[in-house]
């Protein structure tokens, strides 16, 4: 490329010569008459003189020295007087030997620049002679080659280092000259900043700084920046001075880029990419390997016998018919993760509850029932901490100061329900992705449920995120998650009528105590319900999870024994959406267990449930699909005999109105202005005088009395 352009240049230069004052050839041709230039191409001798006047040995030293002189004066870069001195001093030595001929070259670089440049040019010609453009040109080159080669080899033999050095020097020189000469066209390019900043105020300067900073941005791929690239390109163009540079600018750009050599530096660290994808794959590998760990067949049989793992894939199949659910492979991973969970804990019953979406990560929720008596250790620990909390809050001491203490007591803390009862009947484990560690959620307290009903927050996916909300939420995201799970379960877990029945023994006992049955068992005589009946009538579906009272518990806790007023307050807190019957006895009562969902309250003319047949095309094998409108994302299916509940969504309740933050609590009224607060006016003079008069009168009367009394006393004494 380089060669080609230079060759072209040589070939085309004649007509435009006059316009290129800096070109060496011009200087050389100044010896020859300018109009004579076209001739050299035709005549065989011409090129010799035209192109390599100085390299031809027969030429006198005088002519040699005059060439650079002319050349430089033509350029107007350096002062001519310095040159005549050197040539005059050198000729004597130059004429004798060729080695000496090059001594000024060594001693003074400025003079030697031009000859070297010219030899460089002839070099190009040599190399590119085979791809030369015109026959005459080639001819003349072949002629010149003989001269050149002798000369050239010697140059390089003698001073290879200097040559290269000078070459680079030459570049700078030329560039400088060029700049000065063609200031009109190129000045702006090289010195844009000073030029503009002089004229304009700061704003433009900053804009230019920004633009320059942008140009200097290093590319992440090649490590180049545009600023350097442009300057390299311009240097190259000015070096080689190609014809019609604008047409081949792309090629030049490509050339410069390709010529750029960047060494890949050694880094201390090994550049092995640790993608997060590998980590998760490593984690999930454990899921698939766990089966192999079990050794003996006997153990396997035992396990199958007391299997607590739900058949996730089967219910996923049915949910897929309904058009809900996760993908097949994710479901299977969850299935394996549940197996991991049941293997690690003494679990009696396990169920895939659903998935709650979060902003950063999601939660996969498993509903678990521990085996009898095996989870108590953890429960006790929790109780201890809770007691401590209660102790702190009730730290009011009865100091008998004269100043009145605050009479306000925090509303009666409603104790949470025991594990295995009410809203804490099940234990919930969550994990962010299958293969991740299962985290046990703490048991829910009524206060958390009450507050959770008043707020609406997105889950982030990290359990320790604080919940910042207007009624302050007592706990972090794990507590909020647990409260929402409790609310969703209570609202949306349904089963076909008759699948569950009340337990005979326990149920009756508790009926008397609690006023509502709270336990149920599977009905062994359940015969199944027609799917079409399940679709057509909502009364064939019943809730099998206890309703959560406005109090936040499933079973009524009576705070009246301690304080009657608070109970009234709680009654007022009732939410309208919750299906509540007014309690005449001061006790909150919700719909009892196994109430049909047809009795659920409507949400502003919107039915709370939508039922559908999974397929209208093949109704005989379709299943009944139930969708909750109150909790978008809650689904249930039943094929008549089997059923399952599933939730997937953001964990929020639906309401047609937008969320309104709860009203601030009422301002505590000040004391009414009564006799205890108001004071009398200061006693006036009249009053005091009247009082004194009255007192005097009283004293008189008293004295009389006293006298009589004294008389009596005396009498007594003396008796």
């Amino acid at each position: 490329m380089e060669d080609l352009t230079s060759l072209k240049q040589e070939g085309n230069q004649e007509p435009e010569e006059a316009e290129q004052p800096w070109e060496e050839i011009t200087a050389a041709s100044s010896q020859d008459p300018v109009p004579g230039l076209p001739e050299p191409l035709e005549s065989e001798q011409g090129p010799e003189t035209g192109l390599q006047p100085e390299s031809s040995p027969p030429q006198s030293s005088q002519s040699r020295t005059s060439t650079p002189l002319n050349d430089l004066t033509g350029l107007g870069a350096s002062s001519p007087p310095s040159f005549p001195q050197e040539p005059t001093s050198t000729p004597s030595t130059l004429a004798l030997a060729r080695q000496d001929l090059w001594s000024p070259w060594k001693s003074d670089k400025t003079t030697s620049v031009i000859p070297e440049a010219r030899t460089a040019h002839s070099n190009h010609l040599e190399q590119s002679s085979d791809k030369g453009e015109s026959a005459p040109h080639q001819k003349c080159q072949s002629e010149g080659n003989t001269f050149q080669q002798s000369q050239q080899t010697k140059h390089h033999l003698h001073e290879p280092k200097d040559a290269s050095h000078n070459n680079s020097k030459l570049k700078e020189l030329r560039l400088d000259i060029f700049q000065e000469e063609d200031s009109n066209s190129n000045y702006d390019l090289d010195h844009p900043e000073p030029g503009t900043s002089e004229v304009t105020p700061n704003m433009l300067e900053i804009a230019i700084q920004n633009a320059k900073a942008y140009l200097l941005k290093t590319s992440s791929k090649s490590g180049l920046n545009l600023y350097d690239h442009l300057s390299n390109m311009l240097t190259k163009i000015l070096d080689e001075h190609p014809e019609n540079a604008v047409d081949i600018i792309e090629n030049i750009s490509q050339d410069v880029k390709m010529a750029h050599f960047s060494k890949k530096l050694d880094t201390l660290q090994n550049e092995y990419e640790m993608l997060p994808i590998y980590e998760t794959a490593e984690k999930q590998k454990a899921l698939f390997l766990q089966g192999n760990l079990e050794g003996a067949d006997q153990e396997l049989e035992d396990e199958i016998a007391e299997n607590s793992l739900p058949n996730v894939m089967e219910s996923a199949f049915y949910f897929e018919q309904a058009g809900v659910g996760l993908g097949t492979d994710e479901t299977y991973r969850i299935f394996l993760a549940l197996k991991q969970l049941t293997d690690a804990h003494p679990i009696q019953r396990c169920r895939f509850w659903g998935k709650i979406l979060g902003l950063e990560m999601n939660y996969i929720v498993a509903e678990v029932e521990f085996r009898e008596g095996e989870d108590e250790e953890e429960m006790e620990e929790e109780d201890v901490t809770e007691e401590r909390d209660n102790g702190d809050s009730e730290a009011d001491e009865d100091d008998e100061d004269e100043l009145p203490k605050s009479l306000y007591k925090a509303p009666q803390a409603i104790p949470k329900e025991e594990s295995r009862t009410g809203a804490n009947k099940y234990v919930y484990f969550v994990c962010n992705e299958p293969g991740g560690p299962w985290v046990k959620l703490p048991s829910v307290t009524p206060a958390q449920i009450v507050i959770a009903r008043k707020i609406k927050k997105f889950f982030t996916g990290r359990l320790d995120t604080p919940i910042i909300s207007y009624p302050p939420f007592p706990g972090n995201e794990s507590n909020y998650l647990r409260a929402q799970i409790a609310r969703i379960s209570a609202g949306t877990h349904v089963s076909p009528l008759g699948f569950y029945q009340f337990g005979e023994e326990e149920g009756e006992e508790e009926e008397e105590v609690e006023g509502g049955r709270e336990s149920f068992e599977e009905n062994p005589d359940f015969e199944g319900i027609q799917v079409t009946d399940l679709v057509e009538s909502l009364s064939n579906w019943v809730h099998h999870v206890q309703h959560i009272l406005p109090q936040g518990r499933c079973n009524w806790f009576n705070p009246v024994q301690k304080n009657e007023e608070e109970e009234e307050e709680e009654d007022e807190e009732k939410e309208e959406e919750e299906k509540e019957e007014p309690d005449y006895l001061g006790q909150e009562v919700g719909p009892p267990l196994l109430t049909p969902i047809s009795e659920d309250l409507e949400i502003q003319n919107i039915p709370p449930w939508t039922t559908r047949l999974s397929s209208n095309l093949i109704p005989q094998y379709a299943i009944a699909v139930l969708r909750s409108n109150l909790w978008p994302g809650a689904y249930a299916f039943s094929n008549g005999k089997k059923f399952e509940n599933f939730y997937i969504g953001w964990g929020h309740k639906y309401s047609p109105d937008s969320y309104t933050p709860p009203v601030p609590p009422p301002v505590y009224q000040e004391y009414p202005s009564g006799p205890e607060i108001t004071e009398m006016d200061d006693p006036s003079v009249e009053e005091e005088q009247a009082f004194r008069a009255a007192q005097a009168a009283a004293v008189l009367a008293a004295e009389e009395n006293e006298e009589t009394e004294e008389d009596e006393d005396e009498e007594d004494e003396y008796d």
Partner: protein, 276 residues
């Protein structure tokens, strides 16, 4: 999501629990091909499903060769018979903005809305209650248009602008790299740009005119109206709109697979600021 790669797309978008039952899938695969033929579309998208109380609306969109040209929107209740919806107008939007609550699933259902109108009767001005009837079909059109304008997403580079103006599908799109896939700035709104004209020259300096001709998601209001997650061990990036809950965009980095689907009630989440 593209009608051709419906099954793969459904599988990818299933992380949000949104799916279609097998019979719906099969019927969509059949009927969308017919839609493409009958309506002369270059490309048919399965747009999503709007859950109604009685029945669901399945929505499909037909795109012409210019991807940003106005689209044909069709709806169906049984995934086989499709009806064309009229284009949305501003008037419709104003009209239907008073309707709240869920869709019923009956396109001819009429919402009744009473509003007070001032009536000039001679010199007296008194207010009169006027009952306005709004058809559910109109509301459907307007909601789909709003969702499209607000939250339809396309990854950067999936479309390119030809020198003559029209926007085409970029066949050389190889997917976003993993680092790009985690940034909101690599995703664009799939609609005519609105904000782009307001950008300064300096902001535009980095933009590639053939690729960056759409508005990026990162300037959406309010900040945080998108949840961006890596699922399946970073093999899938999922964007969920919090403003229109139900819209899921998925993209498998380094592959061409991307698309969005709306499965929801068709209601805007105006509680968003409270929930963040």
């Amino acid at each position: 999501m593209d009608a051709e790669s419906l099954l793969l797309s459904l599988e990818l978008a299933s992380g949000s629990g949104q799916g279609l039952s097998p019979d719906r899938r099969a019927s969509l695969l059949t009927s969308l091909m017919l839609v493409k033929r009958d309506y002369r579309c270059d490309r048919v998208l399965f747009w999503g499903r709007i859950l109604g109380l009685v029945a669901d609306y399945y929505i499909a969109q037909g795109l012409s060769e210019d991807q940003l040209a106005p689209r044909k929107t069709l709806y169906s209740l049984n995934c086989m018979e499709w009806s064309l919806l009229p284009p949305a107008t501003d008037e419709m939007m104003v009209q239907t903005s008073v309707v709240k609550g869920r869709f019923t699933g009956d396109p001819s259902h009429e919402y009744e809305h009473t509003e007070l109108q001032k009536v000039n009767d001679g010199e007296k001005v008194f207010e009169e209650e006027v009952v306005v009837q709004i058809k559910e079909e109109t509301r459907l059109v307007s909601i789909i248009d709003q969702i499209d304008k607000a939250v339809s997403v396309i990854p950067r580079g999936a479309l390119f602008k030809t020198p003559f103006g029209p926007v085409h599908v970029n066949r050389t799109f190889e997917g976003l790299s993993l680092s790009q896939a985690k940034k909101l700035s690599s995703y664009f709104h799939f609609r005519e740009p609105v904000e782009l004209k307001n950008k300064t020259l300096l902001e535009k300096a980095d933009l590639d005119p053939s690729l960056d001709f759409l508005d990026s998601l990162e300037h959406d209001i309010p900040k945080g109206s998108w949840s961006i997650q890596m699922e399946r061990g970073n093999a899938l990036v999922v964007l969920r709109s919090l403003l229109w809950p139900g819209l899921t965009f998925f993209h498998a980095p380094r592959t061409k697979n991307c698309g969005y689907i709306y499965m929801g009630t068709g209601e805007k989440n105006i509680d968003l600021p409270f929930m963040l």
